[in-house]
Point group: C2
Chain length 277, copies 2
């Protein structure tokens, strides 16, 4: 409820009737009871179609009907992507929404997509991921975008067939582009110390990339603290994934945010903060 105090916006919260009974009321919060639950084990599209009283379905419909301005969920990622595609208008040229995450790098932000929306994709979807990422960065006011493709080596012939074909597709499409500098293949080690703005990949690899970066830095911070080396709060904070907001569902009209399934109150707060600013 800290968000209620700090931001001027109003909230609509979708909860189970049990939880509703114990939650305190707040003048800026409207509670909606939801009698169904989409679990992490549920089949995404099936559950979205059948469980009309789940918070995810209700929330996406409130967004579609413009009853809310944004929808935030910590639920099943596949169901959220499927539901976004089903209930919200897709942006022109988009077949499937994807998840965009913001990550810290040495100088500035790195945007990565897809970080878990679509796991088995083709070259067209990788290209769409690139276009959705570019679209988002342009909407943030960025004029020059440095974009790379996540791969296991920098040479154009490295990687799986999908990645090799995607390299060629992006190379051909952005050759000589004034705004977009496609710098080619990027290894997992490189983006953190680079001028890259946008890292394009499939949802499986992107998810592994994002979570590995989080896990590796958390471990180092923990190891240092155990040695009695206390880091400045600003650094700890900036390397803590919970201090970043959730991932944005790209490619649909309407703001949909996916928070980690094990999100803390702080993580959800940051996501709301990012929306309200």
């Amino acid at each position: 409820l800290r968000a209620c105090e700090d931001f001027s916006c109003f909230f609509t919260v979708l909860v189970s009737p049990d939880l509703l009974a114990v939650l305190p009321s707040h003048p800026k919060v409207l509670f909606h009871p939801c009698t169904e639950v989409i679990t992490m084990q549920d089949h995404p599209l099936h559950s979205i179609r059948m469980k009309k009283n789940a918070s995810m379905v209700r929330g996406l419909n409130l967004l579609k009907d413009e009853k809310v301005e944004a929808f935030l969920s910590c639920g099943n990622t596949g169901a959220l992507i499927a539901g976004s595609a089903l209930f919200l208008p897709l942006k022109p040229g988009v077949e499937r929404p994807a998840l965009l995450a913001r990550l810290l790098k040495k100088n500035g932000d790195l945007f990565v997509l897809d970080v878990g929306g679509n796991l088995e994709v083709n070259v067209e979807q990788i290209e769409q991921n690139a276009l959705m990422g570019i679209d988002h960065l342009l909407s943030l006011g960025k004029k020059q975008i440095s974009m790379g493709l996540l791969n296991i080596g920098s040479e154009s012939l490295k990687g799986t067939l999908l990645v090799r074909e995607s390299y060629q597709r992006l190379f051909d499409r952005f050759k000589g582009d004034q705004e977009i500098d496609f710098v080619g293949n990027i290894e997992g080690r490189d983006p953190f110390d680079s001028d890259l703005d946008l890292l394009v990949t499939d949802g499986f690899t992107g998810n592994v990339f994002l979570k590995t970066a989080e896990g590796a830095t958390s471990m180092l911070i923990q190891a240092l603290e155990e040695k009695g080396i206390h880091l400045p709060l600003a650094i700890k904070h900036s390397f803590d994934y919970r201090s970043f907001g959730g991932a944005l569902v790209c490619g649909v009209e309407g703001i949909v945010i996916k928070c980690h399934g094990n999100a803390t109150a702080q993580h959800v707060y940051r996501s709301i903060e990012a929306l309200c600013q």
Copy 2:
């Protein structure tokens, strides 16, 4: 040449004739001139078959003929895997060798395979990766092995079709096993702060995992140093991937080590150190 002073073994070094002309001689080093080069752009199998005078082909043949006890290469990974499979005897049950890397985690070591040997694999190859990793850990004297499958969520239905099927395969195979505890799906964030010994994955995802962990911790160390926070050398050292040896080619008879293409002298030294101990 530091390795020549520090270790009691002898070295056979394969170099181009140009380089041979400028390198100092050493009583413990036998130089072999190699007149061909397998580049990073070369097709792996094709180049291994055609370039009989490349250092990789010569080195693997010296190993096969027991003229050397181990072979270390910083060259084209695909070619090294293809060459190892072609020239060296495969261990029983192995179809394709894979690359095993050792990584630091909170308590002890984490072994990951495959980190780049085979990029497009099937369920059988994932199972073989598991078996090769287990074989290596048992050979190190480990009695109990905690093993996980790299995925984007912990639930059994998460991930691509390949990963879901691999989960089922490993689950069925190791159910009730006394030595191997298959703990299921592991997210990129989790292995660093866990008791996991062995992380099984395909070569593409494993390579991204390994390099991302390296890049993310390097960035944090650099950020701290720029703030004037100097870390104890032991910590810096233990988080620097160059202080680990190269990756081991698993599944063949004979010791083949793959170092990073951009390996430093220190990285190669560590790999030799690991071999000589």
